[in-house]
């Protein structure tokens, strides 16, 4: 079967359960395609030999009651995987081999999935184009020299290019949804507290969430069902009743009230994004939902707030990289010199920049003016959503203010790079779930995404809306395999 890699996760699971395909067939197919796709630079670490071993073992005694029976998958290199190098895209962790497994990946392996390898990402997930990775930039399967978005750029590229049937990423300010939008794939950022952060390399602890990335909404729902569990090892994990997201998935969204926030119509937004949004509004109406104009008045303050809160938390989280306990160590004349050289040589430019911003806003004399101010505005942003959700069940917006851009186009201007996340950041600040689905193409033929934002813990509802819209949109990703010689 040469078209194995074109199948959806749901189809692969069906075919393995019906014994039309073995885990070995599927694993081999994705490895072969990954081998031919080195130019995408989606992987940091390949684990193909053990993947084949695991597939063989699975086939000898297949447990077909599992949710991901013998399904191979690669994951973002931000999840600690026991005995497999985990770098977070950084030189400072280039030799780090975890002695434990993250809860989210543990959940995946328990359901029968097999690790293919670790996927490229921006260093410590700080970036919107995957260009800050120590292991080089990632190509977007849509077109040569196009960024796949970030920080989960390797993950998005691997799903879109069919090197893995599904994957997981992490999202602190848009790092799942923006790359999903740039690569014509589906990405869900769950409610804060839905997926355990245990064993995920920390960036900004009050914003980070793991989530699924897939070719379609149903695959995404199935993976969310697997990864979302209460975990006592993460003190911010929340014990709520989780749905069987894929089983309960329905395209019946009749009578749902969908909010359209006027503040997301930003200056300089290309007309094609506005047109796409209008089309999205028509789609949800066609599905029997009602749209209501709403206001989220503090939207334009979300990015400035984020660029205080996220770096502040990062500067604190990344203090642990001191060259003593693990990771890279530079030679120094004394202990302090060793710390300073280790961090100067071990971290890339963007990470250093954010540590410095964070250190500054937390430093004596500036804490109230910046950090406390940002915490207050964060409250106002959350209040906006609380107010809106008195009137609506979900909110529909574009995922990004533009389609994917060229490599190097925004690397010299940090602020223009940060503006990529203008529609995704408010969702993290408010701890809400958001999903990006591919909804159309721009004039260049590049994919564009729409975002559905839900109430906290209401993943099922936004998955349903996404599922209903997906059927109306009937999106086809234009993958030409340009990188395969």
């Amino acid at each position: 079967m040469s078209d194995i890699t074109k199948q959806s996760l749901i189809e692969l699971v069906e075919n393995i359960k019906n014994k039309k395909l073995s885990s070995m067939d599927v694993t081999k197919a994705f490895i072969e395609r990954s081998e031919k796709s080195k130019e995408l630079n989606a992987y940091i670490t390949e684990d193909f030999t053990s993947a084949l071993d695991k597939a063989k073992k699975f086939d000898q005694k297949p447990n077909l009651d599992l949710k991901l029976p013998g399904i191979p998958m690669a994951v973002k290199d931000l999840f600690c995987t026991k005995d497999i190098k985990t770098t977070a895209g950084s030189k400072i962790l280039n030799n780090f081999v975890p002695t434990y497994e993250s809860t989210v990946t543990e959940n995946i392996w328990k359901e029968g999935a097999i690790l293919l390898g670790k996927l490229n990402c921006d260093e410590f997930a700080m970036g919107s184009s995957n260009e800050t990775s120590f292991f080089g930039n990632v190509q977007n399967p849509i077109d040569k020299d196009l960024v796949p978005g970030g920080s989960s750029g390797g993950s998005a590229s691997a799903v879109s290019g069919q090197l893995t049937p599904i994957t997981i990423g992490t999202d602190t300010g848009g790092s799942i949804r923006q790359p999903a939008s740039f690569t014509g794939t589906v990405g869900l950022k769950p409610t804060y507290g839905s997926c355990s952060r245990y064993g995920i390399v920390a960036f900004a602890s009050s914003l980070d969430q793991a989530g699924p990335m897939a070719q379609n909404v149903k695959d995404c729902a199935l993976l969310q069902e697997v990864i979302s569990t209460y975990d006592s090892k993460d003190s911010t994990s929340i014990d709520f009743k989780r749905n069987q997201y894929s089983k309960e998935l329905t395209n019946n969204i009749k009578g749902k009230k969908i909010g359209i926030p006027k503040e997301y119509r930003v200056d300089g937004m290309p007309k094609e994004i506005e047109d796409l949004w209008q089309k999205g509004i028509q789609y949800v109406k066609d599905c029997g939902a009602e749209t209501i104009d709403i206001s989220l008045p503090h939207t334009s303050y979300a990015l400035p707030t984020y660029y205080i809160v996220a770096p502040a938390e990062a500067s604190s989280n990344l203090a642990r990289y001191d060259g003593v306990k693990y990771g890279f160590r530079a030679k120094g004349e004394n202990l302090i010199d060793m710390y300073e050289k280790t961090r100067s040589e071990g971290f890339g430019a963007e990470v250093q920049r954010r540590i410095m911003i964070g250190t500054y806003v937390l430093s004596s004399g500036y804490y109230d003016a910046y950090y406390l101010k940002a915490q207050k505005v964060r409250k106002l942003i959350k209040n906006d959503f609380d107010e809106a959700y008195k009137k609506v069940d979900a909110i529909l917006t574009p995922s990004t203010p533009s389609s994917a851009f060229k490599l190097g186009e925004k690397t010299n201007d940090p602020v223009s790079m940060y503006l990529n996340d203008i529609f995704t950041v408010p969702v993290n600040l408010a701890g809400l779930p958001g999903i990006s689905i591919p909804a159309g193409h721009d004039a260049k033929g590049y994919p564009l995404g729409l975002q559905i934002i839900g109430k906290a813990f209401d993943e099922q509802n936004i998955l349903n809306i996404a599922y209903a819209m997906e059927q109306k949109i009937n999106f086809k990703n234009k993958i030409t395999d340009w990188w395969i010689k």
Partner: protein, 95 residues
Amino acid sequence: MSIDLKTIKHISKLSRISVDEKRAKKLAGDLNSIFDFIEKLNELKTDNVEPLTSIAETTLKLRPDEVKSKNIREQIVKNSPQDNEDYFVVPKVIE
């Protein structure tokens, strides 16, 4: 507001990241443009707003205070750049 080279040197010291002159200049430029962008928050009056300190409005769960990981010394020092089997090794601190 303007972040000068002296401030950059100060932050670099606090961050334990050594920065040479050339890099300090670049960082000053970057940080100034980022802080110009952040200044937008001053448009908002927030005197009577409670800061958001926790996104999830739940109380922390209590658990019994039990040791769950035992005898993992080897695992803990396994990734250290330099160790002496039982300890992390750092450059000499006390002369």
